[in-house]
């Protein structure tokens, strides 16, 4: 390179940038980075001895530096912007986290074909236990984001979420488990199908989860002889206030591609306007937390709503995250029912709203619950058992 005035500028900018980024990253997250590296090293050592220790430390350090790099979210935004410029609809990632832009410009994960038999056997296998203790059981298939005959994936990409669910529901029915397929209900509903899911997340919106509670209640009353919310009070959206957080939320897919690729979602928090009094116990593996207060005080986690960072997972505002076990006691309940809900993340807002109608709601997330489920059911003796899943095979 010939001597030119830019040489010094290049050197200063480059060195300042790499040195500055390195220092800032270490200052901001050094402890967190080392913690991850040491955790991975110990995990590796336990699995493979010294080799595992080395590999675990190196991998842990590299991964955590990547995840804690200063300006990470801006880089993700830039990545998404460049993907948008290149008109990409399929952003491939290793594993099952590739992101696809569907016909509406909403983001999707791709669901692969899954053999549902083991999951069916697990549920059907518990049927004698339910019968023994007199619990009624309903499997609720939530709507899936790739709504049949409405949402199209790019040519060449096949999503199996519907066929997986079809297989599961059919086999559950054959096994004598009642099912409610909300995928059908939603198509018949007056909901705007473009707004029933977040465009950057695979989850249903708060309003859709609220709608699902109403549908479930109707089904339980109509088909299974329950007498829930007979005056349609708890399932009437007019009895809730809506707080909207505009342009505040990037969902699971959105966080992988940033805000420029498909935009940002609004998040709506729904809170009862009627009086509530709850006691809530959350089993977080080794820690159990207990809170008392109204619906808002016990179930809503404002630390996920107040910060302006759009990369925060606002979807988990009800409960804060998926936990192994949650026990909600509704002290003002008119119904004495005890309900056990097996759930994935779709169950978070659903369970929050469902809890307004019954005396006790328990949430069990078998991805994290390590105890004996059969014994748990026998000990608890629920009146009603609900399975609320988007896809029961989801492990994350």
């Amino acid at each position: 390179m010939k001597k030119n005035p830019y040489q010094r500028v290049i050197i200063i900018l480059f060195c300042t940038f790499i040195i500055g980024t390195g220092i800032m990253t270490i200052l901001n997250s050094g402890q967190a980075i080392m913690k991850v590296a040491c955790t991975e090293a110990i995990k590796g050592y336990k699995e493979q001895g010294i080799k595992g220790l080395e590999d675990g430390f190196i991998k842990g350090l590299e991964t955590s530096i990547n995840e804690n790099i200063v300006g990470r979210t801006s880089y993700i935004n830039l990545y998404g912007l460049s993907a948008k410029w290149l008109n990409k609809h399929y952003i491939q990632e290793e594993g099952s986290n590739s992101v696809v832009k569907d016909s509406r410009g909403h983001l999707e994960f791709i669901t692969r074909p899954v053999d549902m038999k083991p999951y069916v056997e697990e549920i059907v296998g518990l049927k004698p236990v339910f019968e023994e203790i007199g619990s009624k059981v309903l499997y609720i298939q939530t709507p899936v984001k790739v709504i049949e005959d409405y949402v199209k994936m790019p040519q060449g990409i096949t999503d199996y979420s519907n066929s997986n669910s079809d297989q599961l529901l059919q086999e559950l029915e054959e096994g004598g488990i009642a099912t409610l397929d909300l995928r059908q209900n939603i198509k018949r509903s007056s909901l705007n199908l473009d707004e029933v899911f977040y465009k950057t997340d695979h989850h249903w919106t708060t309003e859709t989860a609220f709608w699902a509670v109403g549908e479930t209640k109707d089904y339980l009353n109509r088909e299974m002889d329950f007498y829930l919310d007979p005056h349609n009070f708890f399932t009437d959206s007019h009895n809730y206030k809506k707080i909207q957080y505009k342009n505040s939320f990037l969902g699971s897919q959105g966080r992988r591609v940033g805000k420029y690729y498909a935009g940002v979602d609004d998040y709506t928090l729904m809170l009862p306007t009627f009086d509530t009094e709850y006691s809530v116990k959350i089993n977080k593996h080794d820690i159990i937390s207990e809170t008392e207060g109204n619906f808002e005080e016990t179930l809503v986690k404002y630390y996920l709503l107040r910060p302006k960072d759009i990369f925060i997972n606002r979807y988990a505002a009800y409960f804060g995250a998926d936990f192994a076990e949650v026990i909600i006691n509704n002290k003002y309940s008119e119904s004495p029912l005890k309900v056990l809900i097996f759930k994935d993340s779709y169950g978070l807002p659903f369970s929050a709203f469902f809890s307004t109608m019954v005396a006790e709601t328990r949430l069990l997330d078998t991805r994290y619950y390590t105890g004996n489920v059969e014994q748990y059911i026998k000990d608890y003796q629920p009146d009603l058992v609900l399975y609320v899943f988007k896809s029961i095979n989801t492990q994350t």
Partner: protein, 473 residues
């Protein structure tokens, strides 16, 4: 450690630069800083292999001293022979032993256990550099290094340690002892490094997704003819931007520390014959074989039969150097045969005259060669080529082919343009313009470079697919 990783960019490189330039001005101390950094860099992936590196440094330092001491005597040749055997033996044990035993087992000669031996990263590169050091000392093309740490620095210098270029000792002999990184060197090193990381992360990694998908589909017998071509072309571009990008990064990093490595690539896909292609592709490897194998065997100064033998031997060795698999050997022989044809028939002269035909001929044959190179087994390579020629049971195109074509069209176009010497032509054109225009162009270029760097970091932070083909060699 990968150059294209955030830990390298924001932790390792800044630390080395700060210690190297900030704490000492003595050449000797700076060499020690670089050597320790290099050994740390090497140990990062596989700490135990650093011992092999240290043994190799120690042994080749000793061989260098011995060869130098007995340079005018017969003993020098003896030590030279022992040195070559020693280096090739280390490489052979780690790289080829399992393969040889496996094959012997298949024909019933070996009845014992076939050990699975992990391959030390970059062993082929540092073995060849070690050999180069002792031979260049023997030939008087570089002074013997009295300090073993300097031999260590030559063999283990982190920019070229893992994936080359194979730096000949004579190229850097003087710079190891005395060098000065000027402002121009440092700045041009940064520019080169950023170009390299852009090639690697923004082009090669994206194309890798298409190529890998094609070969995966082929294994599952779901490959269409169209996807077979798309995958082969993607791999052709992927390997160029992977290895070329790595070489750019290595050359750039070298310059930041005052080393001037020779070029490793010169727009190989602009070649009009296979002979020209190999003058432009992996130049450091082909020139290594030329100077240390082909010429000592007699090169062109022997009769045609022996020339043919020499070419054949060099290309068989080139294939073997790339890996312990029949695919690499066939790949090497394939090029050897093509080069022989070009050399000893009218074809070579014909290609010189017909540029367009030459380009098409070269690109097609190189494309075929990359399929052989990429395939896991020879049978899979031939089957893949058959798919390209229309034997695909899945038809010509399907939805998946169109999806991958559509999604990667922009990258394919950008990569194709970037693989040809347009930028060289633009630079030559700008050189004729006024200083003012040149300054504006430089400013625009620098902004573009900053954009490339940020986008590359964005892809790394995002955690996109990040393989490195030449790490296997």
């Amino acid at each position: 450690m990968l150059f294209s990783s955030t830990i390298f960019l924001f932790i390792f490189l800044p630390l080395v630069l700060i210690i190297y330039y900030g704490f000492t001005k003595k050449q000797h101390t700076r060499n020690i800083v670089l050597l320790i950094s290099s050994l740390f860099f090497y140990a990062w992936g596989e700490p135990r292999f650093v011992l092999i590196m240290i043994v190799s440094i120690g042994a080749n330092y000793t061989f260098g001293r011995l060869v130098h001491r007995y340079r005018k005597q017969r003993k020098a040749k003896y030590y030279l022979t022992v040195m070559v055997i020693f280096n090739l033996l280390i490489m052979g044990i780690f790289k080829y032993l399992s393969f040889i035993l496996e094959n012997l087992q298949q024909v019933g000669i070996w009845k014992g256990h076939v050990p699975q031996i992990a391959l030390p990263i970059g062993i082929s590169f540092f073995t060849f550099q070690s050999i180069s050091y002792v031979i260049d000392v023997y030939r008087g093309q570089g002074k013997v290094l009295k300090n073993p740490l300097n031999v260590g620095l030559y063999i283990a210098f982190f920019p070229q340690l893992i994936a080359g270029p194979i730096v000949r000792y004579e190229t850097v002999a003087r710079e190891i002892r005395r060098r000065k990184a000027t402002e121009a060197d440092f700045a041009s090193g940064i520019v080169r490094f950023i170009i390299g990381i852009g090639k690697k992360v923004l082009l090669s990694n994206q194309l890798a997704l298409v190529a890998d998908k094609a070969f995966e589909l082929h294994q599952h017998q779901q490959l269409t003819m169209g996807f077979a071509w798309l995958g082969a072309i993607s791999y052709m571009l992927q390997i160029y931007f992977d290895f070329g990008g790595y070489s750019d990064m290595a050359i750039g990093l070298g310059r930041m520390f005052g080393f001037h490595f020779n070029e490793n690539f010169n727009y190989p896909y602009a070649a009009k014959s296979i002979t020209e292609f190999w003058r432009r592709w992996h130049i450091s490897l082909s020139s290594w074989f030329r100077d240390y194998v082909y010429i000592p065997l007699g090169g062109n100064r022997v009769n045609k039969l022996k020339q043919a033998r020499n070419i054949f031997v060099v290309w068989l060795l080139t294939g073997i150097w790339h890996g312990a698999n029949w695919t690499f050997m066939v790949w090497g022989i394939y090029f050897g045969i093509l080069l022989l044809i070009e050399k000893f028939t009218y074809l070579g002269k014909y290609l010189e005259r017909t540029k367009l035909m030459g380009h098409i001929y070269t690109l097609l044959l190189v494309l075929i060669s990359w399929v052989i190179f990429r395939a896991d087994h020879l049978s899979l390579a031939f089957s893949y080529i058959k798919h390209m020629l229309g034997e695909a049971q899945q038809g010509i195109v399907n939805d998946l082919t169109l999806l991958y074509l559509k999604e990667n069209m922009s990258i394919l176009i950008i990569a194709s343009i970037a693989s040809l010497p347009f930028s060289k032509k633009i630079k030559a054109w700008l050189d004729k313009k006024s200083i003012g225009i040149q300054r504006i162009a430089q400013f625009i270029g620098l902004c573009g470079l900053a954009g490339i760097f940020l986008m590359a970091i964005a892809a790394l932070v995002k955690g996109t697919y990040n393989p490195f083909i030449y790490f296997n060699f």
